[in-house]
């Protein structure tokens, strides 16, 4: 029964994507490639790209910057979230700073970081980091706030060590919040890294997109976009299915 429901769901999803590709195919016959290349043209560019060394070097630069940005933000956002969650006084100090960082648009950060770090100074990583820190911070802080007081009281009664309380009460409490934060952060971080590479430059898929756009190479822009969408989708599915 479950298998048949999953199959039906997959068939419906495949159907909607097929309709989209068909619509794209039909529309592309009415416009030149520079405006809307057909799926066949895009697929052929995509295969050429996959065989080129530029693709793999750009891909790895983007993935590496993305992973570094997300790991740093996960680390700092979680630590600050735990601190703010455990201490009202420190929450009053940290929360306004994070809220302020969150309210600054990533585009502004991009301009600041180019000035501060230059093109090769890890500006892309910093932009991902600063965009994602608030997501981890607020989720982890909420997780700490939602910790059942009765469990903490029980631990206090039995004089359980602080280490055990953090590991078995707080940590298991924040895990679902961290999972939700990670789901949001991966999607947002992936888009942000490409956008920052596009503006800041210095390698990566974003820069390849920028170059293709300058030369009106729309099929290449589409091919990279397909790759970005597929990688983003794959990461989301992985997080949803395998990290619980």
């Amino acid at each position: 029964m479950k298998t048949s429901i999953t199959m039906n769901s997959l068939l419906r999803s495949a159907g909607s994507i097929t309709i989209l590709v068909l619509a794209w195919f039909i529309l592309a016959t009415k416009y030149p490639d520079v405006l809307l290349p057909s799926p066949i043209v895009v697929a052929s560019v995509l295969f050429k790209l996959l065989g080129s060394p530029v693709f793999w070097s750009s891909f790895f630069i983007t993935v590496l910057s993305f992973l570094m940005g997300i790991l740093l933000s996960l680390l700092l956002g979680s630590i600050l979230g735990i601190i703010a969650g455990l201490s009202n006084m420190l929450q009053d100090v940290i929360k306004p700073l994070i809220t302020l960082a969150q309210s600054i648009p990533p585009v502004s950060w991009m301009l600041f970081t180019v000035l501060w770090f230059g093109e090769q100074g890890g500006a892309q990583i910093f932009i991902v980091f600063v965009t994602l820190v608030p997501i981890f911070f607020f989720n982890v802080m909420k997780g700490i706030h939602q910790t059942p007081q009765e469990l903490l009281e029980m631990a206090q009664c039995f004089s359980v060590s602080r280490k055990k309380v953090i590991r078995d009460i707080y940590f298991s409490q924040i895990l679902p919040y961290l999972h939700s934060a990670l789901l949001i952060a991966v999607g947002m971080g992936w888009k942000t890294i490409v956008m920052s590479e596009l503006i800041v430059g210095h390698g990566g898929i974003g820069q390849q997109l920028s170059q293709a756009r300058v030369f009106f190479d729309t099929p290449t822009v589409f091919a990279w976009t397909v790759i970005l969408a597929l990688v983003g989708l794959a990461m989301e599915i992985f997080l949803q299915r395998f990290i619980k």
Binding site: E150, E153, C157, F158, V160, D168, S172
Partner: protein
């Protein structure tokens, strides 16, 4: 000997305890009864040092405590065995197994709390409270959500476990039957601020008939009885 001297405590501008005194002999089971909301749970929390008193002294010579709450308060991510071992520092596995055996939970030692019935969860919480062999065991209406059969089983279990090493037990309850079954001493409290209005000690296998009548009389003026 657990000694409470000149205990004062207020909450939300309401005086719950004012110069309250109580002495409890070691290795006895003392049951505390009284109307709902007068501060019986607060008394246990004050003894357990979960909340500080406004004034007064609560002293107990040995710093080892077990607590059975109204709800089981088990960690959902740990198994029955892990939940019990969690509160102990270097508790022998054999000791936990032995207690699980007595509590009829050995078969469920690898189960998680969500896989247990309400009665089983409460039994785990009782075993957890006794695993370190605490000198003082506080029990806050631990049987109130259980049906009559489970309650009977739990009462027998508490008695069996108590016989193991005879800790000092303070049981807060609404049910006089529970108190008569387990208690060697029964205290009846009244509110505003809390006072001991009845103090009965058992000198033989059961409480004296006159004492039972007095207890019912005192309680019937404040709470409905299940006798």
């Amino acid at each position: 000997m657990l000694t409470i001297e000149n205990l004062s405590f207020s909450r939300n501008q309401k005086q719950i305890f004012q110069q309250f005194h109580l002495q409890i002999s070691p290795h006895t089971v003392t049951c505390i009864l009284g109307p709902s909301g007068i501060g019986k749970t607060t008394l246990l929390k004050l003894i357990a040092n979960l909340i500080p008193p406004d004034a007064g002294l609560i002293s107990f010579p040995i710093d080892s405590l077990g607590y059975v709450f109204q709800e089981p308060r088990l960690l959902p991510s740990l198994t029955v065995f892990e939940n019990i071992a969690w509160v102990g520092e270097a508790v022998a596995e054999e000791r936990i197994d032995q207690l699980l055996e007595i509590a009829g939970l050995y078969h469920a030692k690898t189960h998680y709390p969500h896989q247990l019935s309400g009665g089983m969860r409460q039994r785990v919480s009782l075993v957890r409270a006794m695993v370190n062999q605490p000198a003082l065991l506080l029990m806050d209406e631990p049987f109130q959500s259980l049906d009559i059969h489970l309650k009977q089983e739990m009462l027998q279990l508490v008695h069996t476990l108590w016989l193991d090493y005879q800790p000092t037990v303070i049981l807060v309850t609404h049910d006089l039957n529970e108190a008569l079954y387990l208690g060697q001493r029964i205290l009846i409290l009244s509110n505003g601020p809390i006072q001991i209005v009845g103090d009965f000690t058992r000198h033989s296998a059961t409480f004296h008939k006159d004492d039972c009548l007095k207890m019912k009389e005192l309680l019937s003026s404040s709470i409905p009885l299940k006798i």
